[in-house]
């Protein structure tokens, strides 16, 4: 009599307005999910300010999330900086504007490529690990066990991770930017005799705070989105091994998508405020 116990919670028989029952099933599921996510976010903001604060766990997660991602972020950023420079050179050379290379690459990295690439790498690495870890905690009843001991698993597990990603991604982005610029310097150095001081002078002369600040601010949102999606998917994971895989997978997909959407919105906002 093994009827699959896969979350067959009774269909909620609340009286729905007519117009709701007309909507297609998929769309209603989508709206339900959005509602759940909004509730999850509201719960986060309610609990983040309420004591007790799980400071130890926040530091532990920041170490796991931030420090452990550094090698991957650095490697990716270095290669991107190098390749971007190598690829841009012929085009600039055709217009005789080779001397603009540091400035152009610097602006691209600081404004756009650095934040987005680092965020995407982190969406893959951190998003999947949070999704899988929380998913397996859910499946092995560890979250239930915290709950029945009268402690608050949401605060310990979810709030600490979201805070960590929100503050670690910006730091990783700054480090990634720096490493990408070094990669870029090496690429420039390959063909022209430029000193590192001159290179960075050229980069910083052509950029100012209005390039850096909006790009930096949006990374907090990237970090928040990555932590949120991983935690939401893991915390609401379905039972079974499949559930864990699914939450890891969908965390990565949704977090990456959100990074692009946030980026798009951020660009619109910065343009609106005249930071062009």
């Amino acid at each position: 009599m093994e009827n699959n116990p896969a979350e067959t919670t009774p269909a909620k028989k609340q009286s729905e307005p007519i117009w709701v029952s007309v909507l297609p099933e998929e769309f209603r599921d989508f709206l339900n999910e959005v509602g759940e996510i909004v509730r999850f976010v509201m719960r986060f903001f309610r609990e983040v300010f309420m004591p007790p604060y799980e400071l130890k766990e926040i530091f532990h997660q920041s170490y796991e999330i931030g420090y452990r991602s550094l090698p991957l972020v650095a490697l990716t950023a270095f290669i991107i900086g190098l390749v971007l420079t190598l690829q841009s050179r012929p085009t600039l050379a055709r217009f005789g504007a080779e001397s603009w290379l540091p400035a152009m690459v610097g602006i691209s990295i600081i404004r756009e490529i650095g934040p987005v690439i680092v965020a995407l790498v982190c969406a893959g690495k951190i998003g999947s690990s949070i999704g899988a870890e929380l998913g397996s905690m859910k499946v092995t009843e560890q979250i239930d066990a915290m709950e029945v001991s009268g402690t608050n698993p949401f605060k310990y597990i979810v709030v600490s991770r979201i805070i960590s990603t929100t503050f670690m991604i910006p730091i990783l982005v700054i480090m990634g930017d720096a490493v990408a610029l070094i990669g870029s310097f090496i690429a420039v150095k390959l063909t022209s005799a430029i000193s590192i001081t001159l290179f960075f002078n050229q980069v910083f002369e052509s950029t100012d705070f209005s390039d850096f600040i909006p790009a930096f601010v949006k990374t907090f949102f990237f970090g928040f989105a990555i932590g949120l999606v991983g935690c939401y998917k893991g915390y609401n994971s379905k039972k079974g091994t499949e559930g864990v895989g699914e939450s890891a997978n969908s965390s990565v997909v949704i977090a990456s998508l959100l990074v692009f959407i946030i980026d798009l919105i951020a660009v619109q906002i910065t343009q609106f405020f005249g930071y062009l």
Partner: protein, 259 residues
């Protein structure tokens, strides 16, 4: 013939007020009606063993008691309060008075045994100083004879060891009500008896009430003041070990046959 080693009933002649009152409880998953008008009362200081076939809803029952699952109909009162209508904060306060031993142990894999035991202790502010906490943890591990496992990770433990750590983790808060989900399943007879004795000791020392889910008749005989047989989602029969074992009902007898 069997000689009942201890008639636990005599040790505690009368019990206090009722701690759990379940009446007409219904819980279903889709079309699967797991609990169907289930009734049970547990009084202070009383051990009630729930017997039932695998998959009949025993785990679901105690998950409802502790508010992990919401029931649809009927009434379930713990410490005089209706579980479904409690706010999160009230529920958390109540849960601090309840110990729950999971069938799957549910140890926190990212923490050592020590941290597993400390987790709830620290968050409920029991044990003020580090020394006090350490002492409580060591004492509890001694009780389950796993004092030397204190710094191991759950992945380094055997199934039976996990089970005992899970038990220690719930008992460390000295709860007034314990819910054991198959505490002795999968243990050798010697350890199983030790665990049964420990559950009895808790009952006598702290006047704890318990619901014990078990297939282990030896454990049931040792620990139960009263047994309830769950069949098809109802409380089919209830009574002391002797009463039930002498009952003339094939469905009930099936549980006592192997003795």
């Amino acid at each position: 013939m069997e000689t009942i080693s201890r008639t636990n009933t005599e040790a505690l002649p009368k019990y206090g007020e009722s701690i759990i009152e379940i009446s007409s409880l219904c819980k279903s998953f889709g079309d699967n009606y797991v609990l169907n008008q289930f009734n049970l009362t547990v009084r202070r200081g009383e051990n009630v063993v729930v017997l039932g076939k695998s998959g009949c809803g025993k785990s679901v029952l105690i998950k409802c008691v502790v508010g992990l699952l919401k029931y649809e109909e009927g009434s379930l009162q713990v410490f005089g309060k209706e579980i479904n209508s409690l706010k999160q904060k009230e529920l958390d306060e109540m849960r601090a008075r309840i110990g729950f031993v999971f069938q799957s142990s549910a140890l926190y894999d990212s923490m050592t045994v020590r941290q597993n035991l400390e987790f709830a202790l620290r968050r409920h502010g029991k044990g003020k100083t580090k020394q006090e906490v350490d002492q409580l943890v060591e004492e509890m591990l001694d009780n389950v004879s796993l004092a030397n496992a204190i710094n191991l990770m759950p992945s380094e433990l055997s199934g039976g060891m996990r089970k005992r750590i899970g038990l220690a983790r719930s008992l460390i808060l000295k709860p007034e009500l314990m819910l054991y989900d198959e505490p002795t399943t999968g243990l050798d007879p010697i350890t199983a008896e030790e665990i049964s004795n420990m559950m009895l000791a808790m009952q006598h020392k702290y006047n704890t009430s318990s619901i014990i889910i078990s297939h282990d008749m030896h454990c049931a005989r040792l620990t139960a003041n009263r047994l309830a047989v769950m069949i098809d989602g109802i409380n089919y029969a209830e009574g002391t070990f002797e009463e039930l074992s002498k009952m003339n009902d094939p469905k009930v007898n099936a549980f006592f046959k192997k003795q």
